[in-house]
Structure formats: C-alpha cells, structure tokens
C-alpha cells in the first residue's frame, strides 16, 4: 500500500557486486552460503562507502537454503553486524530469485516504505541439503514426541535399512517428473533447434565471456572472496573455457537423451556456487546521500506457462509483458541479456520472439516482438560460460548490463530469466546518463 500523500519514488540501483562463480565442489566448497554472501555484501557496502546505518531492508534470494539457516536474509544482517533493526527476508523464485528479491525491495522503496535496501542472491550448491526418506522423518518425529525412553527405543526399532539411505536433490520438475535437461531436449525437438546451432551459441557464450574477462569488464564486478580453509583469494570465474570451439563442443555426448538428443554438458549451463548483491535506493535518498545512480529500475514483469507445454519459454512472455508495461519496443533496447539455462532454451525463445505466428497465437500481438540484434545480446557471455548459481544469476545479469549500458552509452537494458515451474521474469533498466 502506498503511504498517504506519498508520490511513487523512482528506484535506483546505486551499486552491485558479485563473487566469482565457481563450479560446484571447487573453490568455494568449504564455505557456507552465508560465508559467501556475507563476503560479497560486506565488500559491496564498503566499496560504495555506504554507512550501514542507512540500510533499512535486506532481501536475499536462495533456492536451496540450508535447513539450519532457512532465512539467509536475516542471517546476513546479524552475521555482518549491520544494524539489527534491519528486517531480513529470503525469497525464492527459482532461477529468477535475485530479480524477485530486487522486485520485492524495489516495490517497498517505490511505495515509500523503505529508502535503502540490500538485495541479492546466493547459491552454494557444494552444500545442498541431503534428505532422508519420509519414513525416516516419521520415525524421528515419533521419537521426539515419545514420553518414555522405552517408547523412544520402540520408535527407532521400527526403522528399516532402506529408510536410512539418503536422497540427494534432483533438479526435476515435480509436476512433469522430467529433469530440466529433458525439458530442454523437448524444446529443441519442438522448435527444431539443431545441435550445431546449440553448439555455436555455446561457443559464442564462451568467447564473449573470455573477452569480458580479458579486458577487465567482468573482473570489475567481482569482489575477491577469501577462503580460510585453503588460504586462497578467489577473484575469477573458473568455468569459462578459453579453448572452447564449435568443433570441440561437437565431440560431447548428449546427456539426457543419449541416443538421439542434442543437449550436452557443453551447451547447457553448469551448476556453480556464487553470490551477487546490489544496493537499491529511492531517488530522494540517493540524492541526499550524493550516491551516484548506476541504473534506474524502469519496469518489471512476470510470466508463467504450462509446464506440460514448453517449460522454459517464460522469458518471451515476460519480455512481451514488460515491453507493454514500459510502452517500449524491443528495438528500443540497447542491450538484452537472457539467462542461458540451455542453448536450446535461448534459441527457442529467440525464435519465438521473432515469429509473427507465435506473436499472434500466444501474445495477442499482430507482429513479432522482433528479430534480436546479436550485437546487443548477451554481450559478455552468459550462464553457459559463466555458470549458474541459481539465485545469484539474475543479479549478475543486472549488474553486468548496468555497467555495459554506461560503457555503450545506451539507454535501456532488458534482462530476462526462465525459472523452474514454467516461470519467466523480465525487467528493464535505464542508464541515468542516457536519459533525454
């Protein structure tokens, strides 16, 4: 609810920073999600020279929280010794979680309930919860409710060996029973995305990422993270491949449909550990604190499709929505950044956006959203090269696009993600230096 007599505030992104993205089980394996997120948020606040007393909200995304610290947002407030009066919360919108965190905090700022917020997301997939069977949980509950030692022993006595085998999480859709990769295979089949096109797109992602690393653009967005167990200071992504080529990618075996499939480890994104965070402020507060504005949050949209149809087509629908809301066209976007879960998913969406048929059938538009100029698309590589720490990816995209817009003196940047469950999210940011 807006406050009385409150005019809607413009929301500024004043700073953003992320950790390096490192493959699951590598550089960050000995850290917890709190360790990693805390390191990034600490450096974010210090580098921006923001007095922690100014912060009034902290919203963080995490897809797979540790059960002993389910609200990492609040954990971060306490762990970083930020003013303890800052409420901290955790949101989950699968792979769009950090965009969701930004959306929640930005709305509160726009409506006048908050002035300065820290938002972001973290995923530490080296430390995923391991689950036991349902019957094991039932035994544990029965034992904890038992009033006598005998009853407790009786409860444990009912355990069977198979109850004790742990189950690891699989990244599968519960409604369809298929894994993400199987959905990507299905989309490649339905939209006629060839293996060669997927590999070419993956190679492009790698090359652009390497270029952005080499000229320092990506490094400038990374907070070095110290890992006490190994005494290493981690300041670079460890997945981008310098020697990746279409030829090399063509050698890889399909993973999900080993016989006829086209989705390989090389043309999908790897699962990584990482964290990313941003500082949001109301326009008024940013001016009062003399904080330079990195980007304005212009518009935002969500979408969802039937998972039984094309699970990862969410971005197209969200982009359609966000453009309508902003009263802008795809060609007005100086940069477009789409999360690369799979090359098959990106190419399916690009094809849909360029198709008049698709527009008429699904978007209530007479004409296609438009053909995307690849000179403006995922210009610093994407998740295929950089990796995908679920809840940190969207913030990574937003931070990169904010900086790149300034470098290119462009005005609008469009950022989109597909997310589990058939969801999509898209947002437009605006370069304050390019305002007319």
């Amino acid at each position: 609810m807006p406050q009385k007599n409150q005019k809607i505030q413009r929301v500024a992104i004043v700073a953003g920073l992320r950790s390096a993205f490192c493959k699951q089980g590598t550089a960050f394996a000995s850290l917890s999600a709190e360790d990693l997120a805390a390191a990034v948020v600490k450096e974010l606040i210090a580098r921006a020279d923001l007095n922690p007393q100014e912060i009034d909200n902290l919203v963080f995304g995490q897809v797979l929280p540790r059960l002993s610290a389910p609200n990492i947002g609040r954990e971060l407030v306490l762990r970083l010794d930020l003013p303890r009066t800052i409420p901290g919360s955790t949101v989950m919108r699968a792979c769009a979680s950090s965009a969701e965190a930004m959306s929640v905090a930005a709305d509160a700022i726009a409506l006048g309930r908050s002035q300065v917020a820290i938002v972001g997301g973290v995923e530490l997939l080296s430390d995923v919860p391991v689950m036991f069977s349902r019957s094991f949980s039932e035994v544990m509950v029965a034992a904890s409710r038992a009033k006598t030692p005998a009853a407790r022993i009786a409860a444990f006595a009912s355990l069977r060996p198979k109850d004790l085998s742990p189950q690891t999480l699989s990244i599968a859709e519960s409604s369809t029973g298929l894994s993400m990769g199987e959905h990507a295979e299905a989309m490649a089949r339905q939209n006629h995305i060839s293996r060669a096109d997927q590999d070419a797109f993956a190679a492009r992602s790698q090359q652009l990422a390497i270029a952005a690393i080499d000229d320092g653009r990506l490094g400038a967005e990374i907070a070095p993270v110290f890992v006490p167990e190994t005494d290493l200071l981690i300041d670079a992504d460890n997945h981008p491949r310098r020697n990746s080529s279409v030829e090399a990618l063509a050698q890889l075996k399909p993973v999900f449909d080993t016989k006829y499939g086209s989705v390989t480890a090389g043309n999908s994104c790897p699962v990584t550990d990482g964290a990313a965070a941003m500082i949001l402020m109301s326009e008024t507060r940013a001016r009062e604190l003399h904080m330079p504005v990195l980007a304005w949050i212009h518009s935002l949209a969500l979408s969802a499709v039937d998972p039984d149809w094309q699970l990862l087509m969410g971005p197209t629908f969200a982009i359609d929505q966000v453009l309508r809301r902003a009263e802008l066209e795809l060609r007005d976007m100086d940069l477009i950044d789409m999360h690369e879960a799979f090359a098959a998913q990106v190419l399916s969406n690009l094809r849909a956006m360029a198709s008049d048929d698709f527009a008429r059938q699904h978007l209530q538009r007479q004409q296609a959203l438009g053909e995307i100029d690849m000179q403006r698309f995922n210009v610093m590589g994407g998740s295929i090269a950089l990796g995908h720490p679920f809840a940190a990816t969207a913030a990574r995209q937003i931070i990169s696009v904010s900086h790149e817009l300034r470098r290119r003196q462009g005005r609008f940047g469009l950022i989109a993600q597909c997310a589990a469950g058939g969801m999509g999210m898209a947002l437009i940011i605006e370069n304050p230096e390019a305002e007319p």
């Binding site: 210090a46 580098r47 921006a48 007095n51 922690p52 762990r79 970083l80 110290f226 290493l232 200071l233």
Partner: protein, 705 residues
C-alpha cells in the same frame, strides 16, 4: 575526618518480614564504599540487630552492573599516618562484624561488579547468590594498588574457598565471572538478574528452614574438597605452611622484593591461621594501615589515577562517534593489530593494500589471529562479526566518508608521506589523518599534506590489545579541535592518551632507546646478556632489555638508533653490535633469531653464538648489578628530562604515566620524573656527571636536572 560529599544512598525496607538493604550511587557509574555509605549502613544494621523475628536480610545494589566496586581510593590520599588508615580498616571490620552478628541469615544478591570491600562484605553473609550477567564479576585486586584487602577478606576468603584458591585469587588479582565464582564455592547459586531478589528470598527461607542460621563452611565445599586428601593441603597446618612458603617464593621471584603488599598479605593470612581470626583481623588492619602510606602503594595509586585522567578527557564526554569508520593504509604488523583492535571495538575498517597478493596475506593473518582469539571451529558469531567489520581493497574505493585515516605502511619516510597524501586525496576534508609511526619525525611525515592541521601521530604502545596507552603526537600545525576529536576516539576505544609534541623519536621511543642502547653498550664492554637482563628484572622491569630488543626487532631498533644519532648526535650514536647483529640476519622474534633462541634446542636460552659477533667473544665478564641499574636507569631518566625540557612533554606526570603504564618502567619508582624528585635533583645531577666522565657526553645532565 574528611567531610566527603554524600554519595552512595543506602536504603532499608522490610517486606513480608524480610529486610532488604540496597545501595545506589547517583553520581558515579559504579557503587563505591565511602564514609557516608559506611555510616549509613552501620546505622541500619544497628536498627536491625534486635529484630530477631525477621526471617532474614538481603543486601543488593540498585545500580545496574555494579554491586559494590570497592572502596573509594581517593579517601586514602590525604592520610599521612599509618594509624589513621588502620582506623579505617577497623571501622570496616566493625561494620562487617555487625553484619555477621545479625541474629538471622543474610544473603548477598549480587548483580554486577563485586570487588574489594564489596566482596569482603558479601563474604560475611550467610550465603551469596549472583546474576548470570557478564557484568557480574568478582575479585580482590587490592595488590594492584599496592594494598591488601582491608575489610576482613584476608581472613574470610581462605575459610570460604580454601587457602590455595584464595591465595591464587588475591596474589594474581584474578577476576572471576559468575560461573568461575560458583565453581570455586564463592557463590552458592546463579540466577538470571530479573529473578535475583526472588531467589534471595527463597534462599533465606531455605536457610531458615534448615535451621542452620549460619551455613557451615563444609556445606559450601565441593565433595572432593571435603575428602581428607583434597582438603589436606588447605586444611592442615603442615599443608598450609607448604602453600604459604611456596607462595612466598613465587612472590619474591615475581616482585624481586620491591613491593611489600604481597608479603604483608601472606603474613596476615598466616597470623589468622595460626592465632585465630581475632589476631588475623588485627594483623590485617595494621598491615593495611602501613601499606596505605607506603611509597609503593602511593605510586601505584598515583599512576592509576593519572591513567584514569588520561582516559576521561572531561570535555569529550558528549561526542558520540560509534560505530566509527576508519581507513587504514597498510596491513603489516602494526596495521593488522590496529585493524583487529578497532574491529573488536565495533568499528568499520577499510584497509588499502598494494596488490591482491598482499590482501591475501593480510586476510590469512587476520583470520588466523581472530581464530586464535576465539579458539573455536567454526568461528563463533562474535568472531564472524569482527571479521565482517574489516574490508580490504587495492583501489582506494569507499574511503570518502571515513572519520579517521591511519597510515601503517613500512617505516620509510617517503612511503609514509606518499601514503598520507593518498589518504588525504581519497578521504573527505574533515578526516583525521594519522601516522602510526613510533618514531619518525611527524612534521616531516606530514610535509606533503595540504591539510596539515588535520594531521596527528598515533603511537599505540605495544602490545596494542593490552597496553592501554597511546602517545598522541602533534605538530605545531595540528588543530586543537582535531586533537580533541582524536582523544574522543581514543577514549571510545578504551585507550588512555597523552599528548606529546613532535621531537626526535617522540617521548616513549626516545627514552626507551636510550635505555636499550645503553644495555647494548654494557654488552659490548664484555657483559653477558642474561646478566644484564637479570639485573634489570631485579630492578623491577617486567622483562630485560635484550628480551625487549628481540621483541621490538633489531632491524627496527637500528633504524631508530640511526635516526636518533642523526637528530641528537650529542646523546645518541649507533652502537656497533647492533649493526653487526642486524647484518648477521638477526631481526629478533619476527625471524626467530635474536639474543635468545626461539626454536629448536635450548629454546628460551640465550643464543650464545651472538658473542662471536662481539668483542670479548665467548668469554663474558661478570658485572656489578648496581652499575647496570645506574647506567640504564639514568640513561632513561636523563632523556625523559630532556624531553620535558625541550617541551616534547607537557608535564612530568604525562612522562611518568607513559613510562610506567606504557613501557613498563618499575611502578614502585613512580616513573622517571618521580624518581628524580625522590632521589633529589642534586644527587641525580652528580651521578650523571660521574657517568659522563666515565662513559661520555651522552650522560651530560639534562638542563632540568
């Protein structure tokens, strides 16, 4: 006697047949015992003594975090005669006896600091319960002031917790928290603060029911203390004698006989054990009276009062800065201790390092130091929070709104000048700019700055976490307001600060160097390292000069000596051996090579291979202790006086405080200036002239002597 202004209010109320006496000092942050309080308390106890029908009495404090912090030491300052002091002790005895003699049980309900007379009063109660607050602490730290407990503590404590534990508590001036106090049998029960009075009433009722109006000592002892074996040492006279004579040896070793109080303490305890409580109280009062007027206690109390004054700079009371934001350039030995200290006190600190490799090295060291402090894996939340206060960068980002910017880069004038300019350029106009140098000329360090008025020197005396003193160095350009702001900062950090003017190696480093270089000369003349160190320890230095040199670093010492030789050639010249040792790759503890061995066989012993580098070789000459004392001490004292004469120091009290609390100058001597006073200027002058004749012009008496 002295009409002191009324301070602590003492109140009695009776509820449900239970009496409650509470204390409250409206003026100070702690409750302390003074005349008013003693007489008010005596009146109330007198009123209660015939009310046999009462269930009991609870004594407690209405002051949060302070039960009774002991006697107001200022009331002792004007006492000239031992008998007068003795009378105070007797008055205390009488008051506490009144409490002990009440015809019903008494419970002390303790929340907050319970020290000295406060603890002694609670020892006379039937039972003691306390809150679980971290502020609840116990101790009889009188020895620190050169005194002994004077209100019956020397007699009642050994009875309550056993002789061995009592000796440990008093001789080491140990502080106990609630849990430790309970384990020792000092308190009977711990409850949360809010339930303290309720628990007190419960305790009284249970004491009443058990019909033992005064609980028996044996009830309070742990079961193993009641076993014949466990209590044998404490409870039979042979064992007691062993404990006392062991303690006496320890005290002699520690204090070299310079402080009478610990010996008096042992004597008084012994009297009580041998001749009974009455004689013990008598002996305690007499000893206390003599100690109050002893010169040792006077000096310890004087230095303590000077330290308090150097902490409470009255004007700064209203400036609130927390949590502060600090910029720090360089994270070597000095830098990292600054970072750890400031972050531990809750301040945010941004460190600038030259490159990522150095950041990594610093982070590794900081993590290691914090982990060592906390000894837990994984690190507890407090440690995580401390580390979260420290961030590092290479690009000078995030410095604009810092309150205080400190350079702690390597000891090269050009590097430091450059570092300060960098900080000035990246921080806001009103930032306090500080150098952490221990000796480099401050005016020169600040030469390249535009805002020299904002520039000060912060010489944190080592070891930084425990040494409370800071030499706050100023130049003629330093703005008075900046000095006040810096003092407010230091106060908030729990530091005592003394303002000194810029001069060659300031005050502390200069006078300490005069002393250390003289030690090196005595060594060069053929003496042995351990003889010189032993001599100075027997004078009352906590560690000998060569241990100290190893700690300071021989390379660093050489650099300082070179500077002093350059600036004050008439008083300082670099001694040969220092250069020879440095060239031999001996830097002291930091590379485990110095005067002593720090690794391998013979660890802790003198590394005799150094003698091969010195004239005289392995055959060292015996020396007269007296001579070592005189040369080293007078080198120090003479240079201290020179600092006062050249206005590096504002007054002699500052010099004494820095020397005693900052550098470990023997406290019973009261500091270099008190030493001159006490010895007599003429006598010191003569001694210096004689030393000048024998050893050279560096001993030429300072103008003020």
């Amino acid at each position: 006697m002295n009409p002191a202004p009324p301070t602590t209010q003492v109140k009695l109320k009776i509820n449900n047949n239970i009496a409650e006496i509470s204390f409250f000092n409206p003026k100070l942050s702690v409750n302390s015992i003074d005349w008013d309080m003693m007489s008010a308390m005596a009146d109330l106890l007198h009123e209660l003594k015939d009310k046999r029908s009462l269930e009991g009495l609870i004594i407690y404090s209405q002051k949060p975090k302070s039960f009774l912090a002991g006697a107001d030491l200022q009331m002792l300052d004007h006492i000239q005669v031992a008998k007068e002091a003795e009378a105070i002790s007797r008055q205390g005895h009488a008051l506490i006896q009144q409490l002990e003699d009440l015809p019903f049980p008494v419970v002390a309900a303790i929340d907050g600091a319970c020290f000295g007379g406060g603890l002694e009063m609670s020892l006379a109660c039937t039972a003691r319960i306390c809150s679980d607050s971290p502020a609840t602490r116990f101790g009889l730290p009188e020895l620190r002031m050169g005194l002994i407990p004077g209100a019956g503590g020397t007699q009642r404590l050994p009875k309550l917790i056993g002789l061995e534990a009592a000796l440990d508590l008093m001789l080491q001036s140990r502080e106990l928290n609630a849990l430790q106090a309970q384990e020792m049998g000092l308190v009977d029960e711990i409850v949360v603060a809010e339930h303290l009075l309720r628990a007190g009433r419960e305790k009284l009722l249970s004491l009443r029911q058990s019909k033992s109006e005064k609980s028996k000592i044996s009830d309070r002892l742990k079961f193993w203390q009641r076993l014949p074996l466990g209590k044998s040492l404490s409870d039979n006279s042979v064992g007691q004698n062993i404990l006392l004579s062991q303690a006496r040896e320890g005290v002699q070793k520690q204090s070299h006989g310079h402080y009478p109080a610990p010996f008096a303490l042992l004597r008084v305890i012994e009297t009580g054990l041998e001749q009974g409580a009455e004689a013990g109280f008598q002996a305690e009062a007499e000893a206390w009276g003599q100690l109050v007027i002893s010169k040792e206690s006077r000096q310890l109390r004087r230095i303590y009062a000077l330290g308090r004054a150097a902490f409470h700079h009255s004007e700064q009371k209203h400036i609130i800065l927390a949590p502060g934001r600090i910029a720090l350039l360089g994270c070597g030995r000095t830098g990292s201790s600054i970072a750890l200290y400031f972050s531990d006190k809750g301040h945010n600190i941004r460190i600038v390092e030259r490159d990522l490799e150095r950041i990594k090295r610093s982070l590794k060291a900081l993590h290691r130091d914090v982990a060592r402090q906390h000894k837990h894996d994984p690190l507890p939340i407090e440690a995580q929070r401390q580390l979260a206060k420290i961030s590092l960068c290479t690009d000078y980002s995030g410095l604009v709104s810092r309150d205080l910017a400190i350079e702690a880069v390597a000891d090269q004038i050009e590097d430091k000048q450059h570092a300060l300019v960098k900080l000035e350029n990246h921080c806001a106009d009103d930032v306090i700019l500080a150098s952490s140098s221990a000796y480099l000329p401050l005016a020169m360090l600040g030469q390249k700055l535009d805002r020299r008025q904002n520039f000060v020197g912060l010489h944190f005396l080592r070891p930084m976490p425990t040494n409370k003193l800071v030499e706050l160095v100023i130049t003629k350009d330093t703005n008075a307001n900046i000095v006040r702001r810096t003092q407010a900062w230091l106060q908030q950090l729990g530091k005592q600060s003394v303002v000194v003017n810029d001069g060659p190696a300031y005050y502390t480093t200069r006078s300490l160097m005069a002393y250390l270089l003289e030690a090196l000369r005595v060594l060069e003349e053929g003496a042995a390292v351990e003889d010189i160190d032993r001599a100075m320890r027997s004078l009352g230095m906590k560690q000998g000069p060569f241990r100290l040199l190893d700690r300071l670093g021989l390379d660093q010492t050489l650099r300082i000596a070179e500077l002093l030789q350059d600036k004050l050639p008439e008083r300082f010249s670099v001694v040969k051996s220092l250069r020879a040792l440095r060239n031999d790759g001996r830097f002291g503890i930091k590379n485990l090579r110095g005067f002593y061995r720090y690794a391998g066989a013979g660890q802790g012993q003198v590394d005799t291979s150094i003698y091969d580098l010195l004239t005289g070789g392995q055959r060292r000459k015996a020396i007269e202790e007296q001579q070592v004392h005189e040369r080293l001490l007078l080198a120090w004292v003479n240079n201290a006086q020179d600092c006062l004469d050249s206005a590096v120091l504002a007054n002699s009290d500052d010099g004494d405080l820095l020397a005693v609390s900052g550098l470990g100058f023997p406290a019973y001597l009261g500091g270099p200036f008190h030493y001159i006073e006490q010895q007599g200027r003429a006598r010191v002058h003569d001694k210096l002239l004689r030393l000048q004749e024998q050893h050279g012009d560096r001993f030429a008496p300072a103008a003020g002597i």
